[in-house]
Symmetry: C2
Subunit: 373 residues, 2 copies
Amino acid sequence: MSFPQGFTAQVARCGLKSNGDPELAVVRSQVPCQAAGVFTTNRVAAAPVRYCQQLLRRASDMVSAVVINSKNANAVTGPQGERDCARLAALVDPGDVLTMSTGVIGQPMPMAVYEKGLNELIPAEPELLARAMMTTDTYPKVVVREFQGTRWLGVAKGAGMIHPDMATLLCLVITDAAIPAAELQQALNEANQVSFQCITVDGDTSTNDSLLVLANGAAACTPVEWPSILRQVLMDLARMVAFDGEGARHRVTLHVSGLSRDDEARQVGRVVLTSPLVKTAIAGKDANWGRILAAAGRSGVVFEPTEAALWWNGLKLLDGGAPTNPGSEAEARAVEGQEVELRLQLGQGLGKATVWSCDLTHDYVSINGDYRT
Amino acid sequence: MSFPQGFTAQVARCGLKSNGDPELAVVRSQVPCQAAGVFTTNRVAAAPVRYCQQLLRRASDMVSAVVINSKNANAVTGPQGERDCARLAALVDPGDVLTMSTGVIGQPMPMAVYEKGLNELIPAEPELLARAMMTTDTYPKVVVREFQGTRWLGVAKGAGMIHPDMATLLCLVITDAAIPAAELQQALNEANQVSFQCITVDGDTSTNDSLLVLANGAAACTPVEWPSILRQVLMDLARMVAFDGEGARHRVTLHVSGLSRDDEARQVGRVVLTSPLVKTAIAGKDANWGRILAAAGRSGVVFEPTEAALWWNGLKLLDGGAPTNPGSEAEARAVEGQEVELRLQLGQGLGKATVWSCDLTHDYVSINGDYRT
């Protein structure tokens, strides 16, 4: 795997991760980039989020690099956090540098460690770049697409605090296609709706969620279909993030249909796959579909329970709002394996959505009970 | 403990619970009662919820009894579920009988079992009545108050699917005070706001939530302060339900202050104590207060992060939006014990609320991974 033309990445091992993965990454473009971003809606936004938002608001500016650190979120760190963020950006490049941070909230940035790291950067392939972003992810998330002479590379990290509005924790997409920032922003907003807005792990919206796209134009062409490429890259990364949620043992895909509008279907899907009761049932290989209906019922979306039907890995468990009682043997077969595909039909409307998540396991509790130690 | 005048309770052991607790209870009043109720807002309301709502809507009717069954929620059970509910009520008394069910969703009611139980009822004290409602509760929840010649008895069950709007799963309060139904309903609505609307276990709103109050007037008096007695009974029961959430190892009380309005403070409190990341941190005895701020930040309530302060069992961890860094020894002392008292100040406003919950432990995952087996 190689980078889009004109982009390079470097990482540094700062010694904060016990597995030897790097904690610092810098992505540079030889020519200034058009850039777009989507960020957490959390009122307690981290310093790097506010830094990026300010920078992207100045439409005249082009971006030369992105600096990413893991192990410290630089969130709820007061004025010192803002100074640390600006200093990290300035040390990377005198031009405009975007920043992303992920890790523990509410602890001062170990700036001496990161500054030392900036002096010890080594070239990195995409996978090592993705590793530098990781916290509790179990594998690096990288997607590459080539299309009509352009190349697209996306890296993401997720694992916990994953939920729409928005949910990536961190995601960076770089391309050598030539795209003006305004168009990039609009396509990003749309692609985000059907990708990161459709995954949930635990319903917690992070302070640091940042989804950035940089286009440096080095390929000197703009394929007409580029928004669809961007959408594919984001959907692939979003699924990876959802399926690798903290402690995940099952990969869950939920198709909701029959409502009036797509956003209603998305809302039902999010509530169902955020429900701890649904997620623990899946962890326990129990086709406890009643909890899915109960979660749909509290989603705020209007539907007639008597029109509801539900399939669990193809087995129909509910029809016209009443149980089909297929028998415990058929149910046991339906819950075999690590893939869970749920279909929930809530009427005859054309509104539909697909949402992805994972189960809620003992490991989620363990990982988050001692995250800081 | 004895019942308010004119009330009796009976239970039956139907053999569905492995610990020998009863699964069926009937509470009767010698004279017809004024009654009020608050119910789940879930669109997928169980048959008994819809049955009670219809009955209470007919203001002329007085209630003679309540029949309660556990082990089956009679929810998402189609037209058969409605017939089963009406039949259970009719078998208890030809007059108006309220119904409450709790247990697995989406399975047909084992009517032969419950009907046999109705023929084998035995007299029960309040504690055994509370036991007949229980599913995964670890202890029966009973509150008794005597006040100016009136007696108030409240029983509740909770444990899972606990969240505002509303959250009791099941709660029944009976009193021999003389109170008209309309006044009873108004006081119940108000008391509910500061009790069951202020607890959360897992954010899942049940299909069966029902909070019923019956007043038979047998004491022939109406203390002026009765709404405050009702509020105390409900607050005590709500706390018990929150602290006995499925798998709970810590009792969590969160005071939110400094916002413009009480309902804003309540909203922040609910979101914080529903956050899986906050709840797993408490389970792991980690004073990871950054997650509390992150949850408050996504609550939808407007506040200035730079004005936030937070105390964990009296230890100040955040001041003016910046960490106080009291040191790991002080933090270790603050997280000792099973009681967690959090104070979150988000400004200088007068709006405040207290919210109760428990932690999220391995046991919650285990209990809900094999609830139906």
